[in-house]
Amino acid sequence: MNMPLQNLSVRAFRGATQLVNIVFEDKPAVMIFGENGTGKSTIVDAIDFVCNEHAGAIDGRQSTPVKDYLPALGCKSSELQVELKWSGRIFKAILSGSRAYVTGPIQRPKAKILRRSQILDIIDARPADRYESFKRFVAVPNVEKAENALRETARTAGSDFDTAAQNLSNSQHELARLYKEDGGPQPDLRTWAKTKNETDPKDLTARQSHIDTLLALVKATSDALTARNKAKEQAALDLQAVQSLTIDLHAAEEASESAKSDLLKLLDFAEDYLTHHEDAAECPICERDIDRTELLLRIASRKASGNQVAEANRKLDAAVKKEEKAQDLLENEENRFLTASAKLAKGFRDSKITAVQNGSIVRDRFAQFAGDQVPPRAPESLAAAEELLSACQGVENALHSERQTVSEEIETLAAIKLQYGAVIKNVKQAKQLESLSQRLSALLVIVEKERKRFVDDALDSIRTRVDTLYSKLHPGENIGDIKLQLDPNRRGSLNVSSRFESEQDVPPQAYYSEAHLDTLGICIFIALAERDSSDDTLLVLDDVLTSTDEAHIQRFIAMIHDEVKLPVLITTHYRPWRDKYRYAKGPVANIQLIELLPWSKLKGIRHTKTKLEIDALHDLLAAEPIDRQGVASKAGVLLEAALREICLLYRCKLPLDAEGRYSLGDYLAGLDSKLRGAMKCVSVKQASAGTAESETTTALKPYLETIESTTLVRNLIGAHFNSDGMNLVDNEVKEFAEATIALLDVLVCRSCGELPYKKQGSYFACGCKSQQLYPLTTL
């Protein structure tokens, strides 16, 4: 694994009052060590700013507005800039308002940052808040929305199917009822219904139509007869009126001899003249004087006696004309009656209707209506027609009854067809809805099952990862077995449980120590960060470890290097952690060590490369003249650190010291001659292009014996003021240091820079397993 973070340049940001530029080496991890107040958090916040657009620790705090407090002391917000080089790509972030504005390539690196203050929040949070941290991995709101829609349509389809099944049952029941009413003919209902459905109702409707025709003919003929009788009656009445008015005329004529029409006309003219000549004083004919008014009265009197004859004449004329019309109407009505009778005769003559066939109509009785011709208008024809009508009216009730029967047959057949069709339709619909309902239910089963499995798998995957990491930190301690479970009774609620001693499924915050909760929180964070990572993800652990015992810090180092799958940037103020690497108790070849120097406003954040103790010894040896005390002291400390580790590995017998202080002599005495004889280091060189894997075996005994012969240098020069030390020459001091370096060269892995410490088969191995220390146990 490489470190994609190549360079970080911070200007006018938080504690960076001066430009800070950090170049990162291509190692999977980097540790920035610094005491409190040296700028560790500024560096982490700068990474957060450019990668995540967060303002770091002050983000969201009302008391420290980002715009005012993100710029470094004495700097303007416009000066603020963070530049990060990541796998050859450069990203720049400036402050825009109170937010980060980042420019750079599309694919931005992500920093997963865990700060000390967040660790307990992960464990101690309410289940709902904890779920917020996990939900990006387990929450599937869109799928749940679609699943709810599927559930709704599956339920609706099921309901529709139930309705269709009920409709089918109803139509089947109704069809069965009709079958029963029809007498339940053989062989079965299905055959009967199918046959009925295929029956053409046109014969029945034709029969019904024919009966309707016959009945209409009877009615039309009857109506014609009624009209004829009415016309006949009217004609008789009109004839009587003519006769009566003739008598009245003769009587009026006899009563007025002067009732001549010429005189009446003369009187009319005279009256008209006098009426229009109001000034007439003499008769226009005889020229005698006249009294116009008196003469008009006399003319009116004379005309009155002649009007009776005229009125009688007028009435007679009108009566004659009316009688003539009545005769014409009678003729028409009689012809209409005879025509209707002819049609009636033809209709009944050709009819096959039972009521007609069985009726009392004897065709031979109506010779006048034998053919299609209408008989001539004659009394005998009219009489025959009346007799024909009467005969037909005699079967009218039978015709109505037969029509009723036929109509019922038609209705029953229509009902059978309707129900048969309904059954067919409902069967088809029910089958379709059943298939649809089953398919939707099957889809719902899949979606539900896969969703539950997805969530369970996601949680299980995180849980497994957390457990793996946690067991690396706390092997053999009766804690662990972490479980993550969604609360089935609460939406968006996640419970954490674990084992404590013999108790399973207990909340860790109830029983675990603060240090154990810290490491659990770290493991959960790392598991989540890994799950949400890509090729461009950096894990940042910001001062997450405080005081912890040596064994745990050693395991933490192993976990970081052996288990974590992301490049890691660590900041810490915890010196023992840093010094583990300095004394080769961690894979120092796989981590870049950076050290922050004391901060001041004037100088800002300053950093330097952390020097390994062995490198410091090399530097001391290279100086001229050599620092005798420095060389002896540095070599002595390094030697003590290495021998202590070996004695711990082999559980060597050392004199008990209440404060754990041991001298070089104590450690060397603990490595007895038997063990020294068996001790050897095997360095495995991995195969590379053109070269096979090779091993170099080196016995340790000669190195230890050389060391043992020179340890006096450390006591005389490197530890105390001693006048005897002045007698030792520089070369003796150098020999002690070189012997120390030679021993460490044999012991420490050339690949990872770590002393062997892990039991592996029949030897102890370093982290990368290239260095093997034999034997595995004290002989």
């Binding site: 937010r99 980042v102 931005r108 599937v140 799928v143 088809k428 089958k431 889809l443 996601a458």
Partner: protein
């Protein structure tokens, strides 16, 4: 605020949508032509009740006709 969006892994919705679509395909419950629509609709939550119904109906075998039973 940014000028470009960082690339990210598939969301849980997207990952689960792909898994469900595979399972539906394996069960042969929906036309293969409609699987992309299902996957997209699951991932985005845009599949409605009527969408599901239509997808299921389209996958049903055509009926040749009816009988009394």
């Amino acid at each position: 605020m940014t000028d470009t969006a960082p690339k990210s892994n598939p969301s849980p919705d997207e990952a689960l949508a792909a898994t469900i679509t595979d399972a539906i395909n394996a069960a042969n419950l929906v036309s293969t032509q409609k699987l992309p629509r299902i996957q997209d609709g699951l991932a985005k939550g845009t599949l409605t009740a009527s969408d599901w119904k239509l997808l299921a109906e389209l996958a049903l075998p055509s009926d040749k006709g009816g009988d009394l039973s």
